[in-house]
Each structure stands twice: as C-alpha cells, then as structure tokens.
C-alpha cells in the first residue's frame, strides 16, 4: 500500500469545504426568482378532508399560490409506490392502499400534507398557511400494531382488510416443529423493537426549477440515490421523462436510509414549479422531519428457540408483527421480510427456522429502511434470545454462542442466505480479550461494594450487505437491480475523474474511491476527483445504502479501471515499442518490466487524445465504464461486548467499556471505517437507551422534537475500543464486506444484555430509560 493507497489512513479530501463552512447543501442554494413552499399538514391521525378554503390566504401579500391534493391528483401526478413486491403465504400479492403526494380525501397520519402554500418567502408562506382553512371530519385512529389487527379496529385502506398488508412466511415449518418436538430445552422471548426517527442532522429539502422552453425540470434534493429518484419520478410519478429531469443531490447532511425514498415534498415541489412558473424551494424543519421522514424498526415479536441436551440449537420459530405506518414507503415491504428474516440464523448453525411476518397498517408515519434495515431487528432478537438461553440453561453466554457458531464456509442457512466466509470465533476471542472478559467477575464484585450494579453483555452479529445481486433480489420481488456503475475518465493531461453511481453523504467516497486509483496507478489522490450526485453528469447508478458503496460501487470503479488500464497499457506498449504483457504500472508510470523504459501516465493520456500514434484500429480517448453486479451479498460479522454500571437509585446506565471486533474484509481506509463503526454503535446505543418515536393511542405523535425524542449526545456514550479480524470476502475482487451499518446492527443487544445482567432481570424493553430500568429493578 502506498501512503494514499488501499489500507492507508488518508485524511479526507472533502473535509476542507465542510470545516470552512463551504459545504453546499440544498438549503444553501438560491435560484433567481425562487419561491418558497410551506405544507399544510394534517393535525389528525385519521380524517376526511371535507374542504379547503384558501381564499383568505390567496389575498395575502406575497402569496403566489395555494395548491391542494385534489389538484395534484387531477393533474395525474402518480401515487407513491412501493418497489418490492411481497407475496403472502396464501399466494396473494401485498395489499397496497393508495398514497397520493397530497391527500385529496383522507389523511391517515399526523403530518400528512393536504395542501401547499407557495409564497415569496418562507415566513410569508407559513403566515399564509395559517389562513388556509381545512375542514376535517375526524375518524377513529389506531397507532399500535397489536390494536390495529384486532377485529373492530379502525380500518385505514379499503384495499387492506384488517389493516393487513401481508402475512409472509419463510423457512420450513414442518422441520422446525419437529425440532421443537424433540427439544431438550425451549427458550421463549417476547421482544419489541422500538420505533426510531432517523434524524439525519440536515432536514430534508428540495428545490425544483421548471424550464418551460425546454420542458425540463431540475431538482436539487437531499437524496442518497439521485438516479433512483429520477427513475421513480419519471416512470411512476409522471413528472417528466428522464431526459427532461435532472436530479442533483449536492452535499447531503446524513441519510441513514431516510433519504433513499422519494417523498411527497419533492413531487409537489416539481409539480408546483411548473404550475407557478418559478423555482420552488422547500426546506423541512425538525418537526416535519419527525412527522414525515420514514421511521425505522417498530416490530413486535414472539420467538422460541429449541436446544438439544448439548445446548446446540435445533430449531428457531419467529412471529413478527411489523408496523408499516399509514402507507407503504418505497422499500418498506422488504425490510421486515428479506432484510430481516433471512438473517435469523445469525452466526449460528440452526438446522430449522420458520418465521412468519405480518405487515400492518397504522395511523402513523410510514416506516422504511433505517440504518441496518431489518438486520438490527434480526440481530437484536437472536442475541437477546441467546442471552436469555444462556441464563436459562445456566451456561456462560459467550460459550453458548461458541457452541453454536458456524465454522464451515460456505454455509447455507435455512433462510436463503449462503454465508461465504467468516471466522466468528476470531471476533469473539478478540472482543473477549479486549474487554478482559475473564476478569469481569472481580470487577462486578468491586462495583457492588461501591453500590453499583455492573453488567456485561455480548452481541455477535452478522448482516447481509453489499446490496445486492440483481438476479437474486429480482427473484424475491425487488423492482430494481442493485448493481452499480462507474466511469473512469483519464483527461488529456493525465488527471482522472471517477464518475460513480454511489452517493456520499458522510461516507467519505471522495477519499476512499481515490485511494483505489492511487493504489492501482501510483498517482497522488490530488490528481483524482470523484463526481457523483448529478444525473446530468453521471451515468445511471443505484446510490448508497445497505453498506454497498465499497463492496459494489468501488468494485464497479475497479472494473472500469481495469478496462482503462488495459487500453492504456496497449498505448504505452506501442509508444515504448514493447509487448503489452511486459507493461507494469508503477508510481504513475507505465514501465517495461525489467528495463528502465517508461512513459508517464500524462503522456499515455495525451497520446490517447492526440491520437497521432495509436496502435492500428484503436479508438482515441481514454475513458471506460463498467456496471458491476455482485454475485452474492457480503456478510460482515463481529462481536460487540459492553460493560456498564447501573445506578440502582436512579436506574441510570453508565458505560465502563465498549469493545467492537469486526470482520469487514479488506479495509480501504481504516480511519473512515472506524468512523462508520463509531457512528453506527451510537445509533445502536441510542436505540437501546434513549430513542423511541412514540404515538398515543389516537395516533398523535408524542415525540415530534428533540425536546421529547432523546438523541444520543456526547455525554451519553463512551469512547470505543475497536479492532478488526479479517476474512476477505470472496465475492468481490477487493475482498470488501462493508461497514456502514454494523454498529447499528450489533450494539443494541450488547447494551440490553449488559443491563439485564447488571440488574439480574432478563425482561427489559428498549429504550432502557432510567425510569424503565429503575422500575424493572424494583418490580416484584
């Protein structure tokens, strides 16, 4: 590895603009003649919209237009789609209720837009919004998943009787039942996976600009995948054909899944821009983010695990109710099914698994992928169950895991996934050593003498990421392929531009992707730039989510690089009068191996573009592209162990130590990988201790600001002790597995396992707030 090559801790190229205040986020952009949108949102969880009177608002100075749900439907803007078809166990397709961008007739969650005010300033738009009178007829509402499936519950969509979207199954029920019939021990657990609000720090925003002469739209938006946005806006929402719609996702302030989806606000901004003939800008505030950004998690699960007399797992049965909120968001259907139940084998050899997942509508904000998306729910369930089992079977929790680890690879689980490689003992060993697991009992006793309850909690997670092999996901119902694209442009002067379909919103692609180029060509990363986030600049690509940018996106770049290098070698060989096979690339030069003959990359590039002396028949230019479709998911895995103390007087948790031993395959930039893990761990800890998006029984959100929704702050969380064990991923040439979601997937169970260990009671739901922990300690 060079100083800037693969494996080097290169400081980020993109940082300078962020640390000097020169980042360019959507809300930083102003267009000439720009108007401002303010949405009128339902205060009711469920209501009929009987009428909208905007006459007073339209008379206010500075008001350009008030547009309603009726108008957007009449203009044939398409309803929002869900892009992954799931089939119920009875063979029926999932049952989708219609979701118009603004509600013409019925609102089904607090915050759903019914109209929009377009005005000369943001303040004026909001002033005028208060003058718009909306006549609602309230309907009974239901927010809780268990309440929604009861007979007599308020019904959300006529298309979905009983509020049921689907009843989906995976695995072999007969084999699983047989395993339970023969079990020496059965361990049962009920688990609620709390609903979370993603809360990227940058609220969503959009600016739409319609050019009437060209019949062309430009959309600046906070997106993790601008091409997917353009595709969906064109193909399903009838905004404009793809060549008449440019989508730009400039600097984006965090996503965590919530900025994958194409939201009503972008659709309305585009449509309104054409209606009013001026650019329209919308910037959400934090309350709007709580009300309208797709939430995460929200599962209620009953699970049972069967063990034989040797404490080997023989069967696993799971029944999960997944709360989808009021509408099916873009990838929501896949999250509690193919992203969740396919990971229920965890790191363990489980011969028989059966899972049933019932998707349910409620009068709440739609739920979709949030950092980890299904995999945190699976990992939390398994790892809470393993801990519960260890307590019930009276064996050491780490040993119980070790007894059941998969050790032979490849390994076909009973729930679709084929794990390609891994070494689960290695990461468990590394984590146990790092935290001095053996010395814990003494530390616990010491803490007890000081009035503190000390606990230790293990979590061994595995995830499927590098999303995803297109053919495989297509066979499971996905509406898109999940490959990635890249183009490598060597300019005539030898500088290099990499155009990628991945999108960086904090992940550091502008640095790591350059490191691959530096590694292969030996050029400084200052000579390389990464171009992303603009459908006019970059070829179609699939964007960033599911820990895919390195495993899939970077591999696409590698493929394009290989093509470019192959052509460049031919040019170099021709210029050096050598055989192509003898050309090697070192330090930015093409050398004839074993000689001192060399030609620098800029000269090769110049030769390619002057085309004065190219090999016979060769096209001029030095630019290659590639589409890379992975052959399998990748399987990052690891062990997290957390040691903490509970203050019995207040129930407050304080961390003593938190260690993470991850296997991500090859690391391109360990500094950036560690940063991803830190952030993921804190999101997992946040779920375990602090965060919960709560609705009351009538569907009114209780947590719609940071005053009520507890975000992790610096003094809530510890510093982390990270290490890596490595098995290279055989599925891609770089051996990369992906690291973006691991922390969020594995951390929660470690925390809850540690708290329950500390307080000596196994049943404790997330978030383990001080109140909840104190009440659990003091419960009879």
């Amino acid at each position: 590895m060079g100083v800037e090559g693969i494996g080097a801790r290169v400081v980020r190229k993109e940082d300078k603009r962020f640390i000097t205040g020169k980042g360019r986020y959507v809300d930083d952009i102003k267009l000439v003649g720009m108007t401002h949108a303010h949405f009128i949102r339902s205060p009711h969880a469920h209501a009929k919209v009987k009428g909208i009177d905007s006459s007073a608002a339209l008379k206010m100075p500075g008001v350009v237009a008030v547009l309603t749900g009726r108008e957007i439907v009449d203009d044939k803007v398409g309803n929002l789609i869900c892009g992954w078809a799931i089939t119920s166990k009875d063979g029926s397709p999932m049952k989708m209720g219609a979701w118009p961008a603004m509600a013409p007739e019925t609102v089904r969650f607090v915050g759903q837009a019914v109209a929009v005010v377009i005005a000369e300033s943001k303040n004026l738009a909001r002033d005028a919004a208060e003058a718009v009178a909306v006549d609602y007829e309230e309907l009974p509402a239901v927010a809780d998943v268990q309440a929604a499936i009861k007979s007599g519950a308020p019904q959300l969509h006529p298309e979905a009787p009983g509020n049921q979207v689907y009843d989906w199954v995976i695995g072999d029920e007969g084999a699983t039942d047989a395993a339970f019939a023969k079990a020496a021990n059965v361990v049962k657990l009920d688990v609620t996976n709390n609903r979370l609000a993603p809360n990227a720090m940058e609220p969503r925003a959009a600016i739409a600009d319609y050019d009437a002469a060209e019949e062309h739209f430009t959309l600046y938006t906070t997106s993790q995948n601008p091409h997917v946005a353009r595709l969906v806006l064109s193909a399903f929402y009838n905004i404009a054909p793809e060549h008449k719609l440019r989508v730009i996702a400039p600097d984006v302030g965090g996503g965590f899944g919530s900025k994958i989806f194409i939201y009503p606000e972008e659709m309305v901004a585009l449509w309104a821009s054409k209606k009013v003939g001026r650019p329209v800008k919308w910037t959400g505030d934090r309350t709007e983010a709580f009300l309208t950004d797709a939430h995460g998690r929200d599962h209620v699960t009953h699970a049972e695990m069967a063990f034989d007399a040797n404490n080997k797992i023989t069967g696993f049965k799971v029944k999960t109710y997944a709360n989808f909120g009021a509408y099916m968001s873009l990838f929501s259907s896949s999250v509690p099914t193919y992203l969740y139940a396919t990971l229920l084998s965890g790191q363990y050899n489980i011969p028989a698994i059966h899972a049933e997942v019932i998707g349910v509508y409620t009068n709440t904000t739609p739920v979709d992928a949030y950092r980890g998306a299904g995999r945190p729910e699976a990992s939390y369930l398994i790892e809470r169950l393993m801990e519960t089992a260890a307590r019930q079977l009276k064996v050491d929790p780490a040993e119980l895991r070790r007894t059941n680890f998969i050790t032979q690879f490849p390994h076909q689980t009973p729930v679709i996934m084929a794990y390609d490689t891994g070494d689960f003992n290695a990461s468990l060993d590394a984590a146990m050593k790092a935290i001095d697991y053996a010395g814990f009992a003494a530390r616990k006793a010491q803490a007890k003498s000081q009035g503190k309850l000390r606990g230790i909690g293990v979590s061994c997670y595995i995830e499927a990421c590098g999303i995803a092999p297109s053919k495989a996901v297509g066979s499971l119902g996905a509406g898109v392929g999940l490959w990635e694209s890249a183009e490598v442009r060597v300019n005539p002067v030898g500088t290099i531009e990499i155009l990628t379909g991945s999108h960086s919103h904090g992940q550091g692609h502008e640095t790591t992707f350059c490191q691959l180029v530096a590694d292969r060509l030996g050029v400084p990363i200052s000579q390389v730039s990464i171009v992303h986030g603009d459908t006019d600049k970059v070829q179609f690509g699939m964007g960033t989510y599911g820990s895919r940018s390195a495993a899939v996106g970077l591999t696409a770049i590698l493929k394009a690089m290989e093509k470019m290098e192959s052509k460049a070698k031919k040019i170099a060989a021709h210029a050096l009068e050598a055989s192509e096979a003898d050309i090697v690339i070192e330090n930015g030069e093409f050398k004839v191996t074993g000689t001192d003959k060399a030609i620098a990359l800029p000269m090769v590039a110049l030769a390619a573009y002057t085309a004065h002396n190219l090999p016979d028949g060769m096209e001029p230019g030095l630019k290659e592209s590639a589409f890379y479709d992975p052959t399998n998911f990748t399987f990052p895995a690891g062990t997290y162990i957390c040691e903490l103390e509970v203050d019995p007087g207040t129930g407050k948790t304080s961390f003593v130590d938190f260690v993470a031993a991850d296997d991500f395959g090859r690391l391109i930039n360990p500094m950036i990988v560690e940063g991803q893990v830190h952030g993921g761990l804190v999101q997992g800890i946040g779920q375990a201790l602090l965060e919960h998006a709560i609705y009351d029984a009538n569907g009114q959100p209780v947590t719609a600001s940071f005053m009520d929704y507890a975000m992790p702050r610096a003094d809530d969380v510890p510093s982390f002790n990270l290490s890596h064990t490595t098995t290279l991923c055989p599925g891609n040439p770089l051996g990369i597995k992906g690291c973006g979601e691991a922390g969020a997937i594995g951390a929660s169970a470690a925390v809850i396992n540690a708290i329950t260990d500390a307080i000596g009671k196994n049943n404790l739901e997330m978030p383990a707030t001080p109140d909840r922990v104190w009440r659990t300690i003091n419960a009879a």
């Binding site: 400081v11 980020r12 993109e14 940082d15 300078k16 603009r17 962020f18 640390i19 000097t20 205040g21 020169k22 980042g23 360019r24 986020y25 809300d27 930083d28 102003k30 303040n123 809360n199 990227a200 720090m201 940058e202 609220p203 600097d251 984006v252 302030g253 965090g254 965590f256 505030d285 934090r286 309350t287 919103h505 904090g506 992940q507 550091g508 500094m671 950036i672 560690e674 940063g675 893990v677 830190h678 952030g679 993921g680 761990l681 804190v682 999101q683 600001s705 940071f706 005053m707 975000m711 992790p712 702050r713 610096a714 003094d715 969380v717 510093s719 982390f720 922390g743």
Partner: protein
C-alpha cells in the same frame, strides 16, 4: 423592518431585516454565510452556533436585533486565509466529521470550550461541554479526540503568539 448593524467576520455590515428575523437567518439568507446551519427548531442541536463577541451562542435562538452592535464570527471567519484554525485542522486530522452538517457548530462550540478550559480539558469534560451539539454521524468518538487534540494545538499556537 429595522436596520441591524454588526460586524461579521471582521467586516462592518448593515442589514435591513424584519424584526422577527433570527440571527441565523440574517447570516444565511442576507449575508449568504451558509456555513452556519439549522438542524432543529428547539435550540438543541447546535448546528447554528457562532461566536458573538467571542462567545459561542446559538444563532437560531437570537433575534438579529439582539446582535446589533455585536461582533459575530462564523465558521467562514476563523481560518487565517489558507491557514486553518487549529480546531478545523484537528477535526480534519482526527476524522471528526462525516456528513459535515453539524461540523460548523461543533467547531465553533469546541473553540469556545478550549478557550474556557485552556489546558484543563479531559475526555469527560469535553463530552459534558458538547451537550448542546448533536451529531448523528460520528458517534462523537472522533469529535472528542479532535477537541482534545486541538486544545493542545491551541495552547502551542497561543504560546507562539
């Protein structure tokens, strides 16, 4: 409407604004200093932190009029030309930022923390002092490292001056 006169990053400015204008709106919308961000509505996230007369304040929780006569420094005003402020450099060198959205407020708060505590900073103090700044990306680990690193650098650069 009122005319608010203040000094921003060393330059005297006079801006006509509605009285309801917040300081952050004056900076972003009227002076195009978009490095200062807005991340919440409830004065908690700290993305909007700037220095007023040398002290870190939340510019979303001040009327522009309250800053009349004051000297404001924003993230755009702390580097000396091409030379980064030691806190900026420490955030870069310690990977104390990912998406960059909270970063300007973090850096402005962190400079104030070091000014108040000088050489007395430890990890626990930094974590406590960052209470008013929320980051969703970094898990704070590297932010804390950056602040501690910068505290050392700022002491050295002060000693040199």
């Amino acid at each position: 409407m009122s005319t608010v006169k203040l000094t921003v990053n060393g330059k005297a400015v006079a801006v006509d604004v509605e009285d309801r204008t917040l300081l952050v709106q004056l900076l972003r919308d009227h002076l195009n200093l978009t490095g200062t961000h807005v991340g919440c509505d409830t004065s908690q996230c700290g993305a909007c932190v700037v220095h007023m007369d040398g002290r870190a304040v939340k510019s979303c929780t001040m009327l522009a009029g309250q800053a009349d006569g004051a000297s404001i420094t924003t993230i755009e005003g702390i580097a000396k030309g091409d030379e980064l402020h030691p806190m900026q450099a420490a955030f870069r060198d310690n990977h104390g930022l990912q998406c960059g959205y909270c970063t300007p407020g973090m850096i402005m708060s962190a400079i104030d923390i070091v000014h108040r505590h000088g050489g007395q900073l430890d990890e626990a103090t930094v974590r406590t002092e960052l209470e008013g700044n929320i980051c969703r990306c970094t898990g704070y680990h590297n932010i804390v490292k950056a602040v501690l690193d910068a505290a050392g650098r700022m002491k050295v650069s002060q000693a040199a001056e």
